[in-house]
């Protein structure tokens, strides 16, 4: 019984520790962190990475897990290829969204859609990490163990309807994004973990098609 109580106390205390790990950055730390990220982001011409996406809905017993590969080429070519548990790719290219859904191809023109243009910019920005735009977001900065965390709250009301908050987690050493978390509400979010990142490998434009 006593061991159980100790275990319980231990869990609570370590829980406190965990939340205490998220420490606000000082102004000097923010400036140096932003500079590190911008230096790296500027060097990124292409980027490929594997990703695992966890969709968390409060009422589900388990997160919904999908995974695949993401390819980015500057300035704004972006493709997400879902490979498991289904084949689905979505490509952002020249104001168009190209979709390949298990072989079924379609295209959506987003040229005139401001909201899609915004979301697109946001996705590209969150992958490269370069989205420290104070005009668009209220941004706050935190330190974690071996990582940095930036939280973005959209200022635009329309965008806010879709996304309440975006959290980007950066590897401290590499100053690149390792996790993107899109919060729809406090209970529901999408968490995307990026791994096996390859920077500036040669990627042909022809990859970005459906």
């Amino acid at each position: 019984m006593q061991t159980k109580i100790y275990l319980f106390l231990f869990l609570i205390i370590s829980g406190f520790n965990l939340s205490a790990q998220e420490q606000k950055m000082t102004d000097a730390e923010i400036a140096s962190f932003k500079q590190d990220v911008n230096v790296v982001a500027k060097k990124i011409k292409t980027l490929t990475t594997d990703f695992v996406q966890y969709k968390h809905l409060d009422f589900l017993s388990k997160d919904i897990e999908t995974s695949g590969k993401m390819v980015f080429k500057e300035p704004a070519l972006l493709q997400w290829q879902y490979k498991k548990p289904y084949n689905y790719s979505i490509t952002f290219k020249n104001g168009k969204i190209l979709i390949n859904d298990e072989g079924k191809k379609s295209a959506v023109d987003i040229g005139n859609s401001k909201i899609f243009a915004r979301i697109n910019k946001l996705i590209v920005g969150s992958v490269s990490g370069n989205m420290f735009d104070d005009k668009e977001f209220a941004i706050s900065y935190f330190k974690l163990k071996g990582q940095n965390l930036a939280k973005f709250i959209p200022k635009d009301a329309t965008l806010k309807k879709y996304i309440k908050q975006i959290e980007l987690t950066f590897d401290k050493e590499e100053a690149t994004v390792v996790q993107v978390k899109l919060l729809e509400s406090s209970e529901d979010y999408t968490r995307i973990v990026l791994k096996n990142k390859v920077i500036n490998a040669k990627i042909d434009d022809s990859v970005f098609t459906n």
Binding site: Q53, K55, L57, F59, L60, S61, K62, D63, I64, E65, T66, S67, W80, Y82, K84, P85, Y86, Y88, I90, I99, D101, K104, S106, K161, Y162, I163, L182, E184, D188, T190
Partner: protein, 211 residues
């Protein structure tokens, strides 16, 4: 005299047409003695299971795809969420036999006619218990008729392995929409199609296992 004969013929013709169409939903089937008074649908009934399906919706030539999630949250109610592949929530409903609540819906899809159609579709999809009034059969299935307000549901159970294969929602004269199920074990439906007969709407659900 001649005028009234014509009228009489017209009325007769009209009646004949009405009678023929009245029988149209069941006329293909042979009546049979009732072997049960109720039927319990096995799919979507486990409160511990997250029912997650890749979804394709085709509506008047437009394609929409995403993820359909259903979960039984208490004895009477299911929560239904439809998201994009990216995870953005497009719709979030709570639905039971008698209640319906929209938790959220993106403004692009916030149309009364669409919400009402989906409400009808999903209510039938998640309905657990059917009271049976009549029974029919065809070559492959036993068919149970269950009253649903002014309309009826026809439940098709395969004679071969007793698996629920489809449910037809129909008025007295016309089929409105049909749910097709593919299930290996009659506990779980791996593939579901909802096809409307009166509007161009088709919803296809393919179960996927989260890895």
């Amino acid at each position: 005299m001649q005028k009234s004969t014509i009228q009489f013929l017209l009325i007769n013709c009209f009646l004949a047409i009405v009678l023929i169409s009245c029988g149209s939903v069941t006329k293909k089937y042979t009546p049979k003695k009732l072997d049960k008074t109720s039927y319990t649908v096995p799919y979507f009934s486990d409160s511990k299971t997250d029912y997650v399906y890749k979804t394709n919706i085709s509506v008047y030539g437009n394609e929409l795809s995403g993820i359909f999630i259903a979960k039984k949250i208490n004895d009477t109610t299911h929560r239904i969420v439809f998201t994009t592949e990216f995870g953005n929530k497009l719709m979030d409903f709570e639905i039971s036999d008698t209640d319906f609540k929209v938790n959220s819906i993106v403004s692009e899809l916030d149309r009364k006619i669409l919400i009402n159609t989906l409400k009808e579709d999903f209510r039938l999809l998640l309905k657990k218990e059917y009271l049976i009034q009549e029974q029919f059969e065809n070559e492959s299935d036993d068919i149970y008729k269950s009253a649903d307000g002014k309309r009826d549901n026809y439940i098709f159970i395969s004679k071969k392995d007793q698996i629920l294969e489809k449910i037809v929602h129909a008025s007295q004269t016309k089929e409105k929409f049909t749910l097709f199920f593919s299930s290996e074990n009659n506990i779980f439906a791996e593939k579901i199609q909802i096809i409307h007969q009166n509007i161009k709407l088709k919803i296809e659900l393919n179960y996927f296992k989260s890895e």
